[in-house]
Structures are given as structure tokens and as C-alpha cells.
């Protein structure tokens, strides 16, 4: 599993609510980045769970939350979010240095 590495940002650890916020690597898909041209393909941020990652993405690029989650609220049906190699939900907790990959499903016609 790829990790963030042990730089200073990666070592940052905050407490958000009950869960501990950790530094993670986030990978964004090309189709999403075309909607938010300022967003990079990979970035580091601090969050406690997947919901926190999306909150932070939306803070940096307003509107990105609506592209990634519906009003249920759930991760949109044809998107996948992996934490490491495991498919995640909004409440999936993060570990220090883990990789969060947002992928578009191979769907459509």
C-alpha cells in the first residue's frame, strides 16, 4: 500500500470529535478534476474519516461534496472510495499515512 511518507504534514495528528484526525494521501479521478480544474490529482490533507476527507475537499473546492455524495447521504452509487485497498463508506476511519482513492466506476454507455 502506498503511503504519504513521514514528512512533517504526515505526522500531524488532531482530534476531530471522538475520532483522531490523521494525515492521509488523497487521489482524485480525472473526470472529477475536469469539473474542478484547480484540484490536483493527489494531495495530502488531515481528516478522521472519509466524510472528513470530503468535507475538506469541499472546503477547498466548493461544490465537490455534491459531486461525490448524494443527499442520503451516501457516496454516489457509481463512485468508489477506497481506503488503502478496502472499499470505504463515509464513516470509514482513517489511519495515519493511508491512501484514500476516489474512483469513477466503469459504468455508462
Amino acid at each position: 500500500m502506498a503511503g504519504v511518507g513521514h514528512n512533517s504534514a504526515a505526522k500531524r495528528q488532531d482530534v476531530v470529535g471522538e475520532a483522531r484526525a490523521v494525515s492521509v494521501l488523497v487521489l482524485l479521478p480525472t473526470a472529477l478534476r475536469r469539473l474542478f480544474p484547480e484540484a490536483p490529482g493527489r494531495l495530502e490533507l488531515v481528516a478522521a474519516d472519509v466524510r472528513g476527507v470530503i468535507d475538506e475537499l469541499d472546503r477547498r473546492w466548493p461544490g465537490m461534496r455534491d459531486r461525490l455524495t448524494d443527499s442520503t447521504p451516501k457516496i454516489r452509487r457509481h463512485l468508489n472510495v477506497f481506503v488503502g485497498e478496502d472499499r470505504a463508506r463515509l464513516d470509514t476511519k482513517l489511519t495515519e499515512g493511508c491512501r484514500v482513492t476516489i474512483m469513477t466506476a466503469m459504468s455508462g454507455g
Binding site: 473526470a31 469539473l35 443527499s71 454516489r76
Partner: protein, 360 residues
């Protein structure tokens, strides 16, 4: 100064724009825009030329797109375009109505939203989905969607919406309260023993308001063609003389209240093609008493396409132009009120909507 006609096309794979001069003899195509998202409606606010588009992407959900430079660049937003947590999420935007300081958006599952800041943020108009009939709303073949929004030109409080398969609803108080207006429109497919004329549940396909007569509405329904002269309180059949009772779009003449254009199809179970593989636009000049088929320049052999509910439009030039887009990706244009036609574009994705914008 010469005028330019922009034909705004919504398709299953993005927005396109056909641009031509006022002669409407030839057009240049540009696009696709909006990241090739599936779009259901692309329309301009004639007051300032802003173009809006709405639809929904399988990955990223519904949004309203906006261009203030005639389609060259676009932004998108869906802030507030959502139902409450726990409700079925919005799948896609279906219809747009800009103007009078408000942008209305119809969505699937059926509901209505309003933006008062030019499509940046949206607020739900709760009154429609609070109607006691909602638990009985049923989807049509295209889903449970709000596909038509008609505004009263002189009264901002009045709106008519068309929902499939729910029928026509009207508000006289800006959306706070709504009443069904379907009296006289029928449901041929109802089981034996059940009323074919219920209060709601009809499969309205499109509504067009007559020019200068806000109380006159035309309706293409799944089951027939109708006219109302009292704002939809009652409807009368005007389908006699048409080749079919089934079709999707209806386009009212921009200046003549008695003139309407339809594209009847071959019914709802045999492909929904133009009848006999021969394309025709049907016109009435007497409010639906009589009909004429307009075929010159349209394919008269082996044409197996349909035209969807929002895929026909007029322009507002002195000699009215007509435009329609097909399920097979062709756009047909008439610069002489439907007398003659030519194919202005082909090989596009399935066309879901056609609107026009005339600019200097």
C-alpha cells in the same frame, strides 16, 4: 445589425450549439459542452443571453450548468438542489425556466426548485411535494420527473408544471400550494372498471402556452392532444385529424395563438417512430380544429426516429423558424414557418431538447 440564431441542443452526451444567420439556410456546429454530461434541457434567458443546462451524470449526480459567453465557457452548481436526508436523492435535472429574476428547475424524482441568484444556489419549493397526492405519484417510461414548466407572462405567482405520470399541476401563489388541472384529459391505459379521467395521474408529455393568451394552453399527452381556454381547469380534445394520439413535443407559434405545431408518433408500443417511416410536422392554424402535415424536405422513406418532449422549438424572427431534433441525432430546421425543411446537423447523440436564442 444582422441577427444570429443560436440553436441550443441538449443531448445524451452534452450540449451543442448550432449557429446561423437570420436566413437560417446553414448552421455551424460547436460542442460538446458540459463535459458531455447527459442533459435533458438547455435553454437561454432571453433577457441577458445566459445559457443554462441541466441533467445528471451517473458518477457525479445532478447539476445546473451556466454559460454567460454564449457557450464558450461553463460553470456548474447544485448547491441546495437536493431533498432532505432520507428521501430518494435527486437523479437528474429535467427542465429549466429562466426569467423574471428567477430560474426554475424541474427534477427527477419529481419536484421543483428555484434559484434567485442566477443558478448559483437553489431552494426547494416544498409546496408541490407536500401535495397530499404525492404518495400516489407514479413514474412514466422516462421516470417520475417534472419535465415542463410554464410561467404566466404577467403574474409571477402563477406556474403550471407537467409531471410524468402525475399530470398538470398549477399554483397561483408562487408555489406554496398546488392543485391538479387535468379535467378532460384521459388515461386510455387504465384497467377496465377504473376511471379514465381521474383528478391526477395523467401522462402529460408537454404543455405550450398560446401567444398573448395566458389562459390558452395546449397539451400533448400520452393519450391525446388537448386545448384549454381556462388555464387548464378544463381540457378538450383536439386530436381529430391527427395521425396518432401519441407524441411528445408541442410548440406554440410565438405570435399567433391559434397556431401550434406537433410531431405525432406511431403510438406507445411500436417504437415511437414517426408514422410509416415518414417524418412530418403537423400544424393547426385554428386552435386545433384542423391540421395540416408539413413534409417538404423531411425524410419520407425509412425514417425510424422519434422526437422527445423538449426537442422542438420556434424562434422569434419575423418569419418564424421551427427546429426539431431527433432521437437519431439529426436537427431539422425550417425558416418559413414549417413549409420547407432541411437537415442542419446529423450524427449527434440522441437529442433531448431544442431551444433558440436570437442575438445581435
Amino acid at each position: 445589425m444582422s441577427q444570429r440564431v443560436l440553436v441550443l441542443l441538449g443531448t445524451k452526451k452534452g450540449a451543442f450549439i448550432l449557429e446561423g444567420d437570420e436566413a437560417r439556410k446553414s448552421f455551424a456546429l460547436r460542442g460538446p459542452y458540459c463535459e458531455a454530461w447527459p442533459l435533458n434541457h438547455v435553454i437561454a434567458d432571453p433577457a441577458d443571453g445566459t445559457i443554462y443546462a441541466t441533467g445528471g451524470n451517473e458518477w457525479f449526480g445532478p447539476a445546473v450548468w451556466k454559460s454567460t459567453d454564449k457557450g464558450e465557457t461553463w460553470t456548474h452548481s447544485s448547491e441546495g438542489l437536493k431533498y432532505a436526508e432520507g428521501e430518494e436523492p435527486i437523479k437528474t435535472g429535467w427542465s429549466l425556466s429562466p426569467g423574471q429574476d428567477e430560474l426554475y428547475v424541474g427534477v427527477e424524482p419529481a419536484g421543483l426548485f428555484k434559484s434567485c441568484d442566477g443558478g448559483v444556489t437553489f431552494e426547494h419549493i416544498h409546496g408541490l411535494r407536500d401535495h397530499p397526492s404525492r404518495e400516489h405519484w407514479m413514474p412514466g417510461g422516462g421516470g417520475l420527473n417534472l419535465h415542463t414548466i410554464v410561467r404566466h407572462p404577467n403574474d409571477k405567482e402563477q406556474l403550471w408544471v407537467g409531471m410524468s405520470s402525475v399530470g398538470v399541476f398549477h399554483t397561483g401563489d408562487g408555489g406554496k400550494s398546488w392543485v391538479p388541472r387535468n379535467k378532460g384529459t384521459r388515461m386510455d391505459y387504465m384497467p377496465e372498471g377504473m376511471s379514465k379521467y381521474p383528478e391526477y395521474g395523467q401522462c402529460v408529455h408537454s404543455i405550450a402556452m398560446a401567444a398573448g393568451m395566458p389562459d390558452r394552453l395546449y397539451q400533448q399527452n400520452h393519450c391525446g392532444m388537448y386545448r384549454s381556454d381556462d388555464g387548464g381547469l378544463t381540457w378538450s380534445s383536439i386530436e381529430a385529424g391527427l395521425p396518432s394520439t401519441f407524441g411528445f413535443p408541442s410548440a406554440a407559434h410565438p405570435r399567433d395563438a391559434d397556431t401550434l405545431y406537433l410531431i405525432p408518433l406511431n403510438g406507445d408500443i411500436l417504437g415511437r417512430f414517426v408514422p410509416d417511416g415518414k417524418a412530418a410536422v403537423w400544424r393547426t392554424r385554428d386552435g386545433g380544429e384542423t391540421w395540416q402535415d408539413l413534409r417538404a424536405g423531411l425524410p419520407q422513406k425509412d425514417a425510424f426516429f422519434g422526437v422527445l418532449r423538449q426537442a422542438m422549438a420556434t424562434d422569434n424572427l419575423p418569419q418564424t423558424g421551427l427546429y426539431f431534433g431527433t432521437s437519431t441525432g439529426s436537427v431539422y430546421v425550417s425558416g418559413d414557418e414549417g413549409e420547407t425543411w432541411f437537415e442542419a446537423a446529423k450524427h449527434l447523440p440522441t437529442i433531448t431538447s431544442v431551444e433558440t436564442l436570437v442575438v445581435e
